[in-house]
């Protein structure tokens, strides 16, 4: 099992290549093409060069710099970096310098990674196209007239364009997997609680999870294994040993039972080609020796409705902290209420306001039971249906996104149309389960499509095992 990040780290650790050389090669690509793509909001080339210097010194001194030695990594700009601007794609945090590093940032540095910059995202990770960023959209490296997906569109584009070998994003309803699919790279949402959220700026706390982007399944597993594991600074971090995503990559799928989720493979609004590719993926796994059958997860079809009540409800609470008092932007007013109103009205963009209001409404007296309470019960049904499926299957398959990358501006005027992008990814977030999107062929326009491998909580080992087999069987992307 291989990938360019694994290869680069091996070459740097073995003294065959310098970290500085690997870094410069990637920074040259950024220089050449990021003016057009806008994957980065902030490049941290200077700090990356210093880190590369330390890696090279360690190698020269016979010290192993770690499993990501000399590997350029991009970070979604909702991950806190001490003293380095972290905006969440929002005017309200413009210019803010976090006083601490996210746990994942510390783990990357300790593993010898080179953090090359902070990537663009939909404002506060709310969106599926990276168009709601206050700092302008990111373009898809495969076709710059199209979106990279979102909300971690900058991270997906950075890996797809070769600006970094790896990237981290966050996935609340599909925000790693959907942009990975649209940009033709691998993206994963781990089990809720596997990766520390300390220093991930909160959107919907019961759903948010940090996940890796890479060009291969093995590289994504490498990155996940570096950042996963218990962290006392995050009270939702799982105790106990973390499953290893890299453990079973080369083992194939002989003897595994894989279910094709009927409701997601025939979801409303799915491009027929996306449905067809998912079925081809199922056939490919059967050809590789897996026992493949269709399975029904009936409540999955209600995921979208439940999510667009639960996530805004949690967001309305989390985003109450942006009040112009302790950090971020303040717009002065005659009294504190006027200051709050001006700060928040000028600081937040339209999508964020829409979700704050939706969440406030769903939580308000008289509507709580009808909306939020019902959505939480639907969440229980979805988890139960998945558990029933995992009694019979080791892993499940579903499309990642309804279709390939869409043109910029084509879905921005209709929130529901944009939200529908997440129909196949949301159920994993609601259940707290892991899922990996693997590139699998193209649509009729030649744009990349992704197929997801889903698994039970803490099923990372088998999910990545199946994902690796799917990758090996995937038709190439020729464009």
């Amino acid at each position: 099992m291989n990938g360019p990040a694994l290869a680069a780290a091996a070459a740097v650790r073995g003294g065959e290549r310098s970290a500085r050389e690997v870094l410069d090669e990637h920074l040259a690509r950024v220089e050449e093409r990021d003016g057009e793509l806008h994957a980065f909001l902030n490049l941290t080339a200077g700090a990356a060069r210093e880190a590369a210097g330390r890696v090279d010194e360690a190698v020269a001194a016979g010290i192993d710099p770690g499993p990501l030695a000399g590997v350029p990594v991009a970070l979604k700009d909702n991950l806190c970096t001490r003293g380095v601007a972290t905006t969440c794609g929002s005017r309200i945090l413009e210019g803010w310098l976090p006083p601490y590093d996210a746990t994942v940032v510390r783990r990357l540095a300790a593993a010898g990674a080179l953090i090359v910059g902070k990537t663009n995202l939909d404002e506060f990770a709310m969106g599926s196209s990276t168009e709601s960023s206050a700092f302008g959209p990111t373009r898809n490296p495969v076709d710059p007239s199209r979106v990279p997906g979102g909300s971690s569109g900058g991270s997906a584009a950075a890996v797809a364009a070769g600006f970094a070998l790896l990237a981290l994003g966050s996935d609340t309803g599909g925000s790693v997997r959907q942009p990975a699919a649209l940009c033709g790279v691998v993206g994963a949402k781990p089990t809720y609680g596997l990766v520390s959220r300390y220093g991930l700026i909160a959107f919907a706390s019961s759903l948010d999870q940090i996940g890796p982007f890479a060009t291969t399944v093995a590289d994504a597993a490498l990155l996940l294994d570096v950042v996963s594991g218990h962290d006392p600074a995050d009270s939702t971090s799982l105790a106990g040993a973390a499953p290893r995503a890299s453990e079973a990559l080369g083992r194939g799928v002989e003897g595994l039972a894989v279910g094709l989720v009927s409701e997601l493979a025939s979801a409303e609004g799915l491009d027929p080609r996306s449905a067809a590719r998912t079925r081809e993926a199922a056939d490919a796994l059967a050809g590789a020796g897996a026992k493949v059958e269709e399975v029904s997860v009936p409540a999955a079809v209600y995921g979208l409705s439940a999510y667009y009540l639960i996530a805004p409800a949690e967001a309305s609470s989390n985003l109450a902290r942006y009040d112009g008092v302790r950090y971020g932007r303040r717009v002065d007013g005659a009294d504190i209420t006027e200051m709050y109103l001006r700060t928040r009205s000028e600081g937040f963009g339209a999508e964020v306001k829409r979700r704050i209001m939706l969440g406030t409404y769903a939580l308000s007296a008289g509507y709580y039971d009808a909306y939020y309470g019902k959505a939480q019960r639907v969440r229980t049904l979805i988890a139960r249906d998945f558990e029933a499926a995992y009694q019979r299957f080791d892993a499940l398959l579903a499309p990642t996104a309804p279709g390939g990358a869409f043109p910029l501006g084509s879905k921005t005027s209709d929130p529901l149309l944009m939200y529908a992008n997440d129909v196949c990814t949301i159920p994993s977030n609601l259940a707290g389960h892991p899922a990996v999107s693997v590139p699998f062929g193209t649509d009729d326009a030649g744009l990349p499509l992704g197929v997801q491998v889903l698994g039970p909580a803490l099923g990372e080992t088998v999910v990545f095992q199946v994902a690796a087999a799917l990758e090996a069987a995937a038709p190439g992307v020729s464009r």
Binding site: P99, D335, M357, Y361, R377, V378
Partner: protein, 103 residues
């Protein structure tokens, strides 16, 4: 459990905007009322589900309170935290007037 509410009105949206400390123009109020109504209308598909007796899930993990030993340990650097605030007075966050004029 009650059924879904009636269609959301501009007055409802004005109220939630005020509660969430967002000021809306008349145009925004109209736009958001339509958009929120569309999302809530879509959510009606869960209305028909039989959910009595189904426990709500607030969180994917069966977590209890997570406590640590009650031992002092260093927190964030105060100067660094205050440097990020829009306005400070001494070692405190400064805010505009909170109480109205005395009668």
């Amino acid at each position: 459990m009650g059924g879904m509410a009636e269609r959301i009105t501009p007055a409802d949206v004005a109220l939630v905007a005020r509660l969430a400390r967002l000021a809306l123009t008349a145009e925004e109020l109209e736009l958001y009322t339509g958009q929120l109504a569309a999302v809530l209308e879509h959510a009606r598909d869960i209305e028909a589900l039989e959910l009595d007796g189904v426990e709500p899930t607030a969180h994917p993990l069966p977590l209890r309170n997570v406590l640590r030993e009650d031992v002092a340990r260093p927190g964030l650097d105060r100067a660094e935290v205050l440097a990020a605030a829009p306005a400070v007075e001494g070692e405190r966050f400064a805010v505009p007037r909170i109480l109205g004029e005395a009668p």
